[in-house]
């Protein structure tokens, strides 16, 4: 259990995990009761609606919203806070995007990816090999009797 710093509060930016709007972020505009909140995401295409807390994952972002703000106000605050860029800059969003890209790869894309990895790995291993060689040559003590040893 980590730091209790993400609160269910008006203005908290939340990520919708399932349902029709899954994958989108929205702001909490009002708290309905223990389990439900009123969410609104005018800039991300989320309609103003009541949502169960179980569907939401709280993010670290918080908007300075007065409670029961209408959609226009939410939009204004969202744009002012540049939340779209801030969200896509988080590693959370980046991981989601990477997952989405990986899932949408075609057979040819997968081949290209594997081939690119192979080429990179070969470059790395060749470089590694030459480094190993030079370092081992440095470490080895010059042994005069080496050449007299029988094969």
């Amino acid at each position: 259990m980590g730091k209790l710093d993400k609160f269910v509060q008006v203005g908290r930016v939340a990520f919708i995990a399932n349902g029709a709007d899954s994958g989108k972020v929205c702001a909490i505009a009002e708290i309905v009761d223990q389990n439900r909140v009123l969410i609104d995401g005018p800039c991300t295409g989320v309609r103003r609606q009541v949502c169960d807390m179980k569907r939401l994952h709280l993010t670290g972002f918080h908007l300075p919203l007065p409670h029961s703000s209408r959609t226009a106000v939410v939009r204004r605050k969202w744009l002012a806070a540049k939340l779209d860029e801030r969200w896509t800059g988080t590693s959370w969003a980046k991981k989601l995007e990477a997952r989405r890209l990986r899932a949408s790869m075609t057979d040819f894309d997968r081949f290209r990816c594997a081939r690119a990895k192979q080429i990179r790995n070969r470059i790395v291993s060749v470089a590694m090999g030459s480094l190993r060689k030079t370092s081992s040559a440095k470490l080895r003590k010059p042994n005069k009797k080496r050449h007299l040893r029988k094969a």
Binding site: T106, D107, F111, R112
Partner: protein, 272 residues
């Protein structure tokens, strides 16, 4: 049944030559209830004026009489040279005329079957073969033949798969496309071209000839000259098309490689 008969043009001779005119009867609803009854349409068409032409005696009766016996030649002298071999009466004769069932949707012969193709399979698509000699290979779809089978080729230069027919059931259609609009396929590539040739000896044996049934099976398959020719022509054009498409070198090595499912990959969740 009756309304449909009315719609047909008169089979009997007409006094005047008539150009096709609008039908005098028409359907008044979707289940083809006709506006005019059979008697009424008889009046409207003035069919009473049409003289009935006597239809010639049925030829089948003549045929039956003629085919009562067959004249066969026999050998040996003093035998008359020929015999009349009478047809045997059938073992059972029907006592009732079999009622003809109206075939509203008659059984279609195989040739008339509708051939469908999956929407993601278009000429130029890269396919993954899942069965057969070339399973795992990535090949290029050239076209769908009349039988419904797909005509594919490796190209043979890249992965050894020749011009070949393949069922679309044993194929994964990938999203990768090659522009083969400039690839001219030889005209003779059709189902008859790819049909398996049965040896003449075997067919004689099956017909009841005196062929030795223990004879060795026919010689190993040898590629015909026309196959080589067509393969070379198609390969050349296809390699050109691959080169011209974006990422040519990668596409070439892609077609050379084999497909396999790795650990952790789930085909139903994968995009091809």
């Amino acid at each position: 049944m009756a309304p449909k008969a009315q719609k047909k043009p008169q089979g009997k001779q007409m006094a005047k030559s008539s150009a096709p005119h609008k039908p005098k009867n028409s359907a008044i609803n979707a289940s083809r209830l006709m506006k005019y009854s059979r008697a009424r349409i008889f009046q409207r068409k003035a069919a009473y004026k049409v003289k009935k032409v006597k239809t010639p005696a049925k030829k089948s009766a003549e045929k039956a009489a003629a085919a009562a016996f067959v004249v066969k030649k026999i050998g040996g002298d003093k035998n008359g040279g020929e015999r009349k071999v009478y047809k045997k009466t059938p073992k059972s004769l029907p006592t009732q005329v079999a009622s003809r069932k109206v075939q509203l949707r008659p059984k279609k012969t195989f040739k008339k079957h509708v051939r469908r193709i999956r929407s993601n399979l278009a000429p130029g698509a890269v396919l993954i073969l899942l069965a057969g000699r070339h399973k795992g290979k990535r090949v290029v779809l050239l076209k769908q033949l009349e039988s419904g089978l797909l005509l594919v080729t490796g190209p043979r230069k890249l992965n050894g798969c020749p011009l070949r027919r393949v069922s679309q059931r044993y194929v994964i259609g990938t999203k990768t496309r090659i522009d083969i609009s400039k690839v001219a396929l030889p005209e003779r590539l059709n189902d008859a071209y790819f049909r398996r040739q049965r040896s003449a000896k075997k067919s004689a044996a099956s017909a009841g000839g005196s062929a030795d049934i223990f004879a060795k099976s026919d010689a190993a398959y040898a590629v015909s000259a026309e196959r080589r020719e067509d393969q070379a022509a198609v390969d050349k054009a296809l390699m050109g098309a691959i080169k011209a498409s974006g990422d040519g070198p990668m596409l070439r090595s892609y077609l050379r490689s084999l497909f396999s499912i790795k650990s952790g990959q789930r085909p139903h969740a994968m995009v091809f």
